[in-house]
């Protein structure tokens, strides 16, 4: 069930997008945040062999089955989270980066993030004025069960506030901002710990950037069934 081979012809010089037929799992071990259960991770491997050549490329990633929902509560105005259908009380830590000279390493990340887990936190918020964190950061958040709230690079530096007044309309090159945002999403999107993308710190990005981010990050219609976890077998996709 969890091993599949497909055939595909690709024209010379072409770049194609391909979707595998979906793989079925019966009651897989779910990934849970720190304190709610184990951080079950499956190793997904994709490889391509070319006729007359052999193995051409391969890729692998640790993948966690989890469903994260978040919404603003009407009664309190606060943001609530559910993981795998269960409400979770968020205990979060603010994060800028591991080292101001960017001497980043797996060892530093492992130590820093395990420390957060040992403090009984279950979320890290990556502030907009710092980094889009690195895959090693997310790897250890996957391992130790820290949900990640990742902000894009909009702060009080780019909203017309401050003394002297900052540039009011975000960074000068909006196309570059979106190029970086899209590339960052592709870099990080497969991590189980990645919970929420946020436009910026304590504010909304300039309208064109905000609209573009919201559009690019909206849920694909295929996954928009609000009660999919309660659907019956008759609703098989």
């Amino acid at each position: 069930e969890h091993l599949q081979t497909q055939q595909l012809s690709i024209h010379p010089g072409a770049r194609v997008q391909y979707t595998f037929p979906q793989l079925f799992f019966y009651k897989p071990n779910l990934w849970w945040p720190n304190g709610m259960g184990k951080q079950a991770l499956y190793n997904v491997q994709i490889s391509v062999e070319v006729k007359g050549y052999g193995k051409s490329d391969s890729w692998s990633h640790l993948f966690g089955f989890r469903k994260i929902e978040t919404y603003i509560d009407n009664a309190t105005g606060g943001r609530l989270f559910k993981v795998n259908g269960q409400p979770i009380f968020i205990r979060g830590g603010n994060w800028i980066l591991s080292d101001g000279l960017l001497r980043l390493s797996k060892e530093r990340y492992r130590t820093d993030i395990k420390f957060h887990a040992d403090m009984n936190l279950n979320m890290i918020r990556c502030w907009a004025g710092g980094l889009a964190e690195r895959p090693e950061f997310y790897h250890y958040c996957d391992i130790y069960g820290l949900l990640v709230w990742q902000e894009f690079w909009i702060t009080g530096d780019v909203d017309g506030r401050g003394i002297p007044v900052s540039n009011p309309n975000g960074p000068l090159d909006h196309d570059l901002f979106m190029l970086c945002a899209r590339d960052t999403v592709k870099l990080l999107r497969n991590h189980a710990s990645l919970a929420l993308w946020v436009g910026g710190n304590e504010q909304v990005p300039p309208k064109n950037l905000n609209d573009a981010l919201k559009n690019d990050l909206k849920l694909h219609p295929y996954f928009e069934s609000p009660n999919e976890t309660e659907n019956s077998v008759a609703d098989l996709p």
């Binding site: 991770l41 491997q45 062999e49 089955f65 800028i96 101001g100 702060t155 999919e228």
Partner: protein, 262 residues
């Protein structure tokens, strides 16, 4: 034939201030490669920043001790060229006829240009983007390759007001770069604004077809009893012939010890 996959370039890097190097990128990667023992070249911190390299070599004090940051010249006073640095390394790679090699930078700050065996390539602006360059055609046939990268600081490094404050004069926000580097209420200004090769550098060998940015998504039904994994990816055929591909996806989990379930 080189093995398919990634090799990190995370050691053996040298660095030098651009204004102190009289050679061109072409010369540095052909006739006049630098050596560690030759001034102004020094061991570099890659991944890391220019300031990390200067601290590593004790050219400047560690800015995170006491008030040592005050002893380091700020880019607003020195000018951007003071923190514009060359980074040099070598790597071995010998490909077979149908193989390809990418040179990957997972992030630099803020822009750059590189020379590989005398050939120039541009690394465009932006702190949070990957750069992937197909360098197959410019590798040395003997397998020994010389690489040098010139890294430029952000376009708008800004100036720190005497009283400090949130984000200095906010100029850094005009670029797509980390903004804490002009100082904040919790952080002293970073003198080089984090200029450098700040994330992983690697070479990556593939055959004629390359896998690009797979995307994994799961969907849940029947109270998490019925679950589906959806995988989409891009493939690029770099050959001049139609590639008949066999695509494989496999999911395993470690049950205990060395026992895996496929």
């Amino acid at each position: 034939m080189a093995e398919i996959g990634k090799t990190k370039l995370d050691s053996g890097w040298l660095a030098a201030r651009s204004t102190e190097v009289q050679l061109t990128g072409t010369q540095l990667t052909t006739t006049h490669p630098p050596t560690k023992s030759t001034a102004p070249w020094m061991e570099a911190a890659v991944p890391g920043t220019v300031l990390a390299t200067l601290v590593k070599n004790k050219v400047v004090p560690n800015p995170f001790y006491g008030l040592e940051n005050e002893a380091i010249v700020d880019i607003a006073d020195s000018g951007r060229e003071f923190y514009t640095f060359w980074f040099f390394t070598t790597f071995q790679c010998k490909l077979s006829e149908k193989q390809h090699l990418d040179l990957n930078f997972r992030a630099i700050n803020y822009a750059g240009e590189l020379y590989l065996n005398g050939h120039r390539k541009v690394l465009p602006k932006g702190m949070f983007r990957r750069h992937s360059l197909d360098v197959t055609d410019i590798l040395h046939p003997d397998g020994q390759n010389l690489l040098v990268v010139l890294i430029y600081p952000p376009d708008h490094p800004g100036r720190i007001p005497p009283e400090g404050g949130q984000g200095g004069d906010h100029e850094i926000g005009k670029d797509v770069a980390a903004q804490y580097v002009e100082g904040w209420d919790w952080m002293a200004p970073i003198r080089d604004r984090n200029t450098g090769i700040w994330d992983e550098v690697s070479i990556y060998v593939t055959g004629p077809v390359k896998i690009i940015d797979p995307h994994l998504v799961s969907s849940f039904f029947d109270n998490y009893r019925r679950v589906y994994l959806h995988a989409t990816t891009e493939f690029e055929n770099r050959s001049s012939w139609v590639a008949e591909c066999s695509l494989n996806i496999q999911v395993t989990t470690e049950l205990e010890g060395d026992v895996c379930l496929v």
